[in-house]
Each structure stands twice: as structure tokens, then as C-alpha cells.
Symmetry: C2
Subunit: 431 residues, 2 copies
């Protein structure tokens, strides 16, 4: 039986969530699946009353709060507190019951609560749909690295009108469809539990795309691997590390570590200070390279911080400005990498660092706008110095990061590392 | 029979769209509805070959192109050209056949093509779902004022892996669910074609919310109206005007015209130069006020253009900075409004301009941070001067825009205007 959680801020939107609930039931009645189970959680600032509520506000706070009296909190703090309660509640539901989807609807406040719960209490892959007044704009604070689906409500989510009913009706039906399909997929996966295809994550950027494409095709065609390619936009690095933590990836080719530059230098594609840690801590085969570490990403040129105004800036397009990293910054990047490896690597023999000395990106090759052999040399030397005695192999290669031969060698060395695993069960032979 | 259009850039993503197509069919087989009709359009830069294709690349270009040879165009121009062809093709399908949803998936290029088609060739309300690598970020160029639903792909949409299959599977199932529900909704609507509830659009901003809430409740509770509230974020104004053009609204209370400030002064919530035109041209009952014209919206304070650095700026929060409009700017705003009224009003007797002299926003009342009687007076005087001889009634009211009595009077005057329509069929009596 498919099971959907409905997160409702019922103190202000009871009518709208009653409608969503009833349309979920209606859509489910048109499916061949067994009846839908709906868990409606009352997530508002104050309790509401309705027969449809599965987990009341009182129970939510009593079972998942820390005993703080809501009346002691400011309006903003009540929302934060409720968000924590709902996260714990949904985490428990996901852990202890089969859950096949989470649905909510709200303005900016409700979207913030619901998306935090969806991001942190549910796995990637489980359907998550949020109807929101703020979905036509910057959704990254809401979606982050996850697969939350955002439906713009067009009108305010208040009262009832033809358009709002139409949109909420679409949302309810989408959720029923997804929950049914997700339940079926989980059953399919359980039946195919003797999985033998290795799952490899690879990080990519526009300027490393030819190399990554070659790696992907080589691993797929020659070794029957499943390759997951992540755009190194900040979200991509985080998503890959999250999947490693969830044991959804068996090995990693972290070819494009440019997010480290943005973290250190204040660019807009940082994946945070924990980048690189997940795969190192997991001890899975892990090839790290320095793709696109020649650049820090900013938005429109006017948005580049003023202390960088005298730097080499490349306007990629009106909304993307790239800054060439300096030798000093290259050393910081190298230090970040070597420090993570030395402090986090569970098994250094599974880690390799690859240095494409012919150029770390498509535009850092000789003659390219970001060609800078001094910065590159500083990067490579600092990496070599920093990894002395670490037990991690460094592979120096004269080719550039997009060279097809380099890509094949990277892929083959990863396969070797995987084959060297004790009790390997992956089919990594030629296919 | 539900009918879904699948927009596929098949030259680069044939495998992925074959999977989507097959999962659409599978999801449909688990529904109680009659079989799903899928129209797969080959939208890539070059033709692809597959049995599933309904409208081939050749047919698309032959029937919807202007005769230009694709080989004469640059790579970028091919995409623009194909976008135009697909728009015309989908417009024809929507006009001549029943269509219940549009689905696509792509990277930044594919998302741009598919979203342009969804925005411009399909009505608001029809399910539109786009799986995209760029959905966790600024979606406004893609979604605009429409209800396009964005699903972040987490991984690159290339090849096949567990996660990508999971996400595409969710998307296909969501689309089948929505298409079924939308078909049912259209049938319900057709049966209820003797609609008598008037549909009123109202524009709102945070600083006019109390007034709009009061108007909405009054119209709903006293007059049985369906009230559509639009956030004046740029998208909201455009959405309201689009619904007026589509004859989905019978009357408008354009209480919050702040988007005009952003259009004229370069703020980030402009609804474009055609704001106000749709309702005036339609000749429907139309009450215009000047809500939140005390402010121009910008992002973080550092993003305010330097030529405004000496102006009165209010940091609403870290991502929103408001600039108080000056008397000179107030005159420009008034000129924009009076000019639109004089050039576009089909029936001036249906238009009224309301001046809340006690304050045009929550923060422009006496003692508020944006209180400025000189600017307000300049605005009101320029409106009165500009509308002399126009036949449009101006209502001067000493109360502020959020005053409950003001809200009720605005609502009642709209109802009077509606009642004065010849052959009115709306039930606007007390309920």
C-alpha cells in the first residue's frame, strides 16, 4: 500500500490541506494500486482540528519536542522549533514504516519548513513535491542537493479559486502517481538485490565535460558500470557525497574538485567545508583530480567582490564570471585536499591523486585564457609535498584533463582499484 | 483518453527519452483510465530515429519552420529556430486536440527550449513538468509566471544509473497522474459550465497583505466570489494579466502596483512595460490603487546599483533591500498609470483609481520608515492631473491601504461595478 506524508501548516491553511487530502484520495481511487495511506501531520504554529489529521500538533510536540513550551518562543523561533519536531517525526516514519512520498504546499514560511524536512528526513529518490509561492525564483535554499520537485502556485495559496484548485489537484495527482511508481521501483530493486554492476560517481563541469563523457562511456561500455555524473555546482558535490554516505555509490572519480576553490575564495558554487570527506571516510576506491581548480565562479561581473576587482576575470556569459586562481590560492586548494586526505582517508591505498599537467580545464591548456603554468606548478608541487608519507599514490600525467587517453587511463585505474577489493562482487570485466 | 506531449532532444538523449516514454506507458497501465496517448516530438538539433517518435524532426521543420535550412544556422541559432518550430507545433496540438500535459527533461539547453514551449504554447493549469539539471537555482527564467513544475535531476541526464532511472520514473508517473487528473478536471468544469461565481484577481505584497486579506475574505464571504491573489513579484502581475487575457478573470482589484516602480527604476520585481494593459484592454471592472509604490525592490544591499547609494534604503532582510521612491519618481509612476489608462482603457466607466491618502503601504503610514507626505502628494496630484477628462473616477480616501474599512469599500465598489454590467450573470448578492 503506497504511503504519502502530507505536511500541513493547518493553523493558517486548513481548507487548502483538506482539499489536497481529498484530492489525494480521489487520485488514488483511480489507480489500480491498493488504497493510499495518508499521514497528515499538523505542522503549524498552533494546533488545528480536523478528522483527517493523523499526527496532531499536540502529539507531534509531545513526542518529538524537547519539552520547550511553545508559548515561551518568539514567532520565528516557533517555526524553527516545529521544523525540528517535524524532521524527527518524519525521520522516524521513514525509518519504521514504508513511506513513498512527501507532499506539502506553502508560502515562503511553509516552504522553508517543508523543504527542510524533505531535504533532511527523506532519502534522495523518494518523491518529494512542494507547491510553493516562491518556486519561480532562486530555489537553491529550498531544493539544495536533493530531488525536491517544486510546483509554482502562480496564485497565493489562500482560499479557493479555480486556478488554485487546478494546481493543487495536479499536485495531489502527481504525488499519487509518484508514490505508486516509487513503491513499484522499491519492489523491483528488492527482487534485483543480486546487483553486480558497480556504481561510480564522477564530478563534472562545463570545462571538464569531454573528459567526463569519455570516462562515462568507457566505464559503461567496457565495464558495464553505472555512472552517476554530478555537475560541480555546489549541489552536485554535496549530492555525490550524500549518496556515498547512503552507500549508493561504490567508487568515485572526483575529477572536478572546483567547488573547493569556491569554498576557499568565496565563489558561488561552494559545496561547503566537508567536501571530499565522504568518499575518504567510506574507504571506497577514490580517484581525486584537480579539474577546474583554475577557476572561482561568480555571477554577473558586477557581483564579483571588490577585493577581486584587479584579478583576471573572464565573463563566460552575462550571468557567469570566472576568476583565475593564483599560485597562492593554488597552494590553499592543495592544502585543503591533502589535509582532507590525511585526516579522513580510511584506507589510503584506495585513494589516488591524478595531476593532469597539460591543463586542469578546457581553458587552462597552453594558449587558453586561463593558462598559467606558475599557478599549475604551485598546485601540483603543494599536492606532492602535502601527501609525502601519506601512502596515497600520486599519478603525474603530461596530458590535460580532457584528453581521451587520460580519461581512459583514469577509468582503467579505478577499475583496477575496484578489482583489488577483497570479496569484490562487481562484474567489472569487459562487456 | 489522456494525452501527453513528450518534448525530446533526441539527438543527444535518445536513450533517456526512450526510458521516459516507456515509463509513461507503464505508469498509465496502472491507472483505471483508458490508454495514454503519447506524442513524442523530436526536438533536437539533428534528426533521430526511433519507432516511438510521433512527430519526426523532418516533419516538425517542414510543417512549422519558415524554410530556413538548418545547415545555414549557427549552433545557437539552430536551438532558437527549433524552439520556434516546437512552439508552433505544440500550439497547434493544444488548439486542435485535447492535450493534458507536457513532459521534458534536459540540461541547461534542453531546459531552455522545453520551458519556452511550456510557457508560451500551453495554458496555465495544464500540467507541465521539466526534469532539469538546473532546477536547484534561479528558476525564474524558466518558470516565469507559469505553473511549470521543476524536478531537479541531481545527476546529469546522461546514460543510465539507478538514481537517474528513479528520478525519471518519478517524473513519468507524476505526469501520468497529473494528465489523468487534468482530464477529469476539464470534464468536471464542462459539466459546471453554468458558473455564476465571479472571479476576481487581486494584487498583493507583504506590505499590503492585511488589506488584501480583508478584501479577499469580504468578497468570498459576502459575495461568494472566487478570489485569486497574486504576489506582486513581477511574476504575479504577469500571471494576473495573462489570466485576464485568457478570460479566466472577470474583474480586477489591482491594489498593489509596485511592479511599475521596479520597471521604471530598475528594481528586480518588474512585470515589464505592459503592466496594467490587459485588464484595461479587456474592459472588465478594474479598481487600480497604488499599493507599495513607495518602494523599489532590490536584492542584498550590495546589489543596489551605485547610482542609488545615497538614497533611503531599508534592509528588509539579508536578501531584500527596499528603496523609498522620491517625488520625482512618484510623478513617473503616476504618468505610467495615467498613460496606460488613457491609451488602453476600453471602457473608462469600468475603471476607478483609488488613492489611500493615509499611506500606500504598511511602512509608509505616518511614523513608518517610508512615510513621506511630499512623495505621496506628488503621486496623488500627478494621478489626478493626468486623468483629467479621462472619464475615469478617482476616489480619494483618507485611510491607509491596509485599513479594514478601506478594504471593504474597495470590495463593495467593485461589486457595484460588476452589478452594473449589462447582462451580468454573476451571483454577487450576499451569501
Amino acid at each position: 500500500m503506497p504511503h504519502v506524508i502530507l505536511l500541513g501548516t493547518l493553523d493558517t491553511k486548513l481548507e487548502e490541506f483538506r482539499y489536497l487530502y481529498d484530492r489525494l484520495s480521489l487520485a488514488a481511487s483511480q489507480s489500480t494500486k491498493t488504497p493510499l495511506k495518508i499521514t497528515l501531520i499538523d505542522c503549524g504554529r498552533e494546533p488545528a482540528t480536523d478528522d483527517r489529521i493523523s499526527i496532531t500538533h499536540e502529539d507531534l510536540v509531545a513526542q518529538h519536542g524537547d519539552g520547550t513550551a511553545l508559548t515561551d518562543l518568539s514567532r520565528g523561533d516557533v517555526i524553527k522549533y516545529m521544523t525540528q519536531c517535524v524532521k524527527r517525526c518524519v525521520s522516524d516514519l521513514v525509518k519504521n514504516e514504508n513511506v513513498h512520498g512527501i507532499l506539502s504546499a506553502g508560502g515562503s514560511g511553509g516552504s522553508s519548513l517543508a523543504s527542510a524536512v524533505m531535504r533532511e528526513a527523506a532519502p534522495i529518490g523518494m518523491p518529494k513535491l512542494l507547491v510553493s509561492t516562491v518556486a519561480s525564483g532562486d530555489t537553491s535554499p529550498l531544493v539544495g542537493e536533493t530531488d525536491i520537485t517544486m510546483m509554482y502556485s502562480v496564485v497565493d495559496i489562500a482560499g479557493s479559486n479555480q486556478l488554485l484548485r487546478n494546481i493543487l489537484n495536479n499536485a495531489a495527482a502527481a504525488m499519487v502517481g509518484m508514490a505508486n511508481a516509487y513503491e513499484s521501483l522499491l519492489q523491483e530493486e528488492a527482487q534485483n538485490a543480486d546487483r553486480t554492476r558497480m556504481r561510480v560517481g564522477v564530478t563534472m563541469f562545463g570545462v571538464t565535460t569531454p573528459g567526463v563523457d569519455k570516462i562515462r562511456r568507457h566505464l559503461e561500455e567496457r565495464h558495464g558500470a553505472e555512472v552517476f555524473v554530478f555537475h560541480a555546482t555546489g549541489h552536485g558535490g554535496r549530492a555525490m557525497e550524500r549518496l556515498v554516505q547512503d552507500q549508493k555509490l561504490d567508487a568515485v572519480i572526483d575529477l572536478t574538485t572546483t567547488e573547493i576553490c569556491d569554498h576557499l575564495m568565496g565563489g558561488n558554487m561552494s559545496a561547503g567545508p566537508e567536501r571530499l570527506e565522504a568518499a575518504l571516510k567510506a574507504g571506497i576506491p577514490n580517484l581525486i583530480s584537480v579539474g577546474a581548480t583554475d577557476m572561482v565562479n561568480f555571477g554577473p561581473k558586477v557581483s564579483v567582490p571588490s577585493h577581486y576587482s584587479d584579478r583576471q576575470l573572464l565573463e563566460h556569459n552575462p550571468t557567469v564570471t570566472l576568476m583565475r586562481t593564483t599560485p597562492e590560492e593554488a597552494k590553499k586548494i592543495a592544502h585543503f585536499i591533502t589535509n582532507k586526505i590525511k585526516t579522513c582517508a580510511k584506507d589510503p591505498s584506495k585513494v589516488q591523486v591524478w595531476l593532469p599537467k597539460g591543463g586542469v580545464s578546457m581553458i587552462a591548456v597552453p594558449g587558453g585564457p586561463f593558462a598559467d603554468s606558475t599557478a599549475d606548478e604551485a598546485l601540483f608541487q603543494a599536492l606532492k609535498d602535502g601527501l609525502k608519507g601519506s601512502g596515497v599514490e600520486i599519478v603525474e600525467d603530461e596530458r590535460d584533463i580532457n584528453d581521451a587517453g587520460f580519461a581512459v587511463d583514469v577509468a582503467e585505474r579505478l577499475v583496477e582499484l575496484i578489482r583489488s577489493l577483497e570479496h569484490t562482487t562487481y562484474n567489472v570485466g569487459s562487456v
